[in-house]
């Protein structure tokens, strides 16, 4: 991987923080953006801006074509043949809320159960908890094994006749652990239970083929995939594309409207009321093209190499405690310095220009399970290098010394 060339494509990475080179290791929170993505936004507003889907004029047609071409590009990236299965949303959180509010209308009944996992981000807990509280439903949780991986045997036992959905993360944002999707899928299919896959942390780091995985729902965010904030997607399989009730409605979703009755369109547009985030959707497609230009498997391999290299060096430091150490994981390492607060370590590392995330990472139930207030998280992207890890380790040692 030619990281030198890749880095030159990310304007922000040339920046100094506290007179040190920026070492950006907070990619699980959001990735930096390549020139192509930044230019896509600027180009849209300077050359193609118009509202889409309804206009008869040239600019509107151009904008509509760019927008719908983005749906095709993104659909193809995920292995889909029907691009209508890609619904544009403001991101993962919005997508899960659309599913939760839609399912709550008719499909979910009081007393029903939804299975989540201990690894979930708050955004894949709270919409379901809101449903459970408002409608008398129940949440069940797949526990962790000693090595912090999910206990799939217990998943089987959690299933009852009341189980209506399994909603799990593809990759844990706090620990980087990759869920064994084949196991979840086999159990879900065997019991004919729909399942939702939270791909916020997998889509940026590995090949994801939705035609093969075949979940009922898949969600992810553009800004974690080198794209802009405020854009993301909801994938629905054919059943839910037709059947999922919409919770929000408005212009652009209809065939005919009268004060007595409205007939809605079919396909993705039914879920996209109002003027969508056109510029950012187009930039999202550009980010997807950028990743495909490098290759998702290549990105995965590069980040794997960085994780293994960093883990190996960190294992040599007796003051470090790491969580969720496994052979196969996406580009995340979660750790603490023994007897030191994550906040102190993060604050001092920032002085050396190193951007890390500290705290609970929006996974408070997981932190409680690990018995910690929070962790320090290092997360990689395609532009990170071995040299940056060496610098990170050197400064980590120094910070440990300063604090002790």
């Amino acid at each position: 991987m030619d990281t030198t060339a890749i880095r030159q494509n990310f304007p922000i990475l040339g920046q100094k923080i506290n007179a040190c080179d920026l070492v950006y290791l907070d990619n699980a929170a959001t990735t930096q953006k390549p020139k192509e993505v930044i230019e896509a936004i600027s180009n849209f507003y300077s050359q193609n801006n118009a509202n889409i889907h309804r206009g008869v004029h040239t600019l509107s047609r151009k904008a509509t074509e760019l927008f719908e071409q983005s749906r095709k590009t993104i659909g193809q990236h995920f292995g889909l043949t029907n691009d209508q299965q890609i619904v544009f949303t403001s991101g993962t959180t919005a997508s899960i809320n659309i599913v939760a509010q839609g399912l709550a209308k008719h499909y979910l009944k009081p007393g029903d159960e939804i299975i989540l996992s201990m690894l979930e981000h708050h955004s894949n807990i709270l919409p379901w908890q809101m449903w459970a509280e408002e409608h008398g439903g129940y949440l069940k949780v797949i526990p962790l094994l000693m090595d912090h991986s999910l206990d799939y045997n217990t998943l089987e036992k959690l299933i009852s006749t009341k189980t209506k959905l399994i909603a799990v993360t593809h990759v844990s944002n706090s620990l980087g652990l990759i869920t064994d999707i084949e196991k979840v899928k086999a159990i879900a299919n065997q019991h004919r239970i729909p399942w939702l896959l939270d791909g916020a942390q997998s889509a940026p780091h590995m090949p994801v083929n939705l035609l093969e995985l075949d979940p009922d729902f898949f969600v992810c965010s553009a800004h974690k995939m080198y794209g802009p904030t405020g854009s993301g997607l909801l994938y629905l399989n054919d059943r839910w594309l037709k059947e999922l009730p919409i919770a929000k409605t408005g212009g652009g979703t209809i065939k005919t409207v009268s004060f007595e009755k409205t007939e809605y369109v079919e396909g993705a547009l039914r879920f996209e009321p109002g003027t969508p985030n056109i510029a950012d959707v187009i930039a999202f497609a550009q980010a997807i093209k950028y990743m495909d230009g490098i290759g998702m498997q290549e990105i995965f391999n590069h980040e794997q190499y960085l994780v293994q290299y960093a883990q190996q060096l960190m294992a040599e430091l007796p003051e470090i405690e790491m969580y969720g150490i496994q052979k196969h994981k996406a580009g995340v390492i979660s750790f603490n310095v023994k007897n030191q607060h994550a906040f102190d370590v993060g604050t001092l590392m920032d002085k050396y220009g190193i951007a890390l995330r500290t705290g609970h990472h929006c996974t408070q139930p997981l932190m409680k399970q690990l018995g910690v207030q929070g962790t320090i998280r290092v997360s990689f992207a395609v532009y990170n290098t071995k040299l940056e890890i060496d610098y990170f380790i050197e400064k980590l040692k120094k910070v440990i010394k300063m604090l002790s």
């Binding site: 906040f343 001092l348 705290g359 604090l403």
Partner: protein, 137 residues
């Protein structure tokens, strides 16, 4: 000493480090370690300042015309900052606490610790200290 006099004293103390942030932070860490702990029975959930990465406990008393603050945190850098804030605001009249601008924090180059990211709870702590002072007027 007045709030302004103490602030001036702290600025002079930190001037000694110049641009050497490492020594400055080592000093802050030392200050954190030397902070007299809040007594254990006061470290209750009611005294915790919520929503922050590093937890901060604050206790305030009004005694003989002065505010008396004690506090603690589980993060040492936060504790160092608390030590400075207590040095400035404790044993001052409630009216003076309310009017304190605390510009010294900017002048000693530690303004980032009062940023509104809520990461360390110091901004909330200052607000809480002022609220307690207001109650005593």
């Amino acid at each position: 000493m007045s709030i302004e006099e103490i602030e001036k004293e702290i600025i002079e103390e930190f001037d000694f480090f110049g641009d050497d942030w490492e020594s400055k932070y080592e000093h802050l860490i030392e200050l954190g370690k030397s902070l007299p702990l809040i007594s254990a029975d006061l470290k209750t959930d009611e005294r915790i300042i919520q929503g922050c990465q590093s937890r901060v406990w604050l206790n305030a008393n009004y005694d003989d015309g002065e505010m008396i603050y004690t506090a603690d945190s589980d993060a040492i850098i936060t504790k160092g900052m608390i030590a400075l804030l207590i040095r400035v605001l404790s044993h001052q009249k409630p009216k003076d606490v309310l009017q304190a601008n605390l510009t010294f924090i900017d002048q000693i180059g530690l303004k980032e610790h009062l940023s509104p990211t809520r990461a360390n709870g110091l901004l909330s702590m200052v607000n809480q200290m002022k609220k307690e002072a207001l109650k005593s007027i």
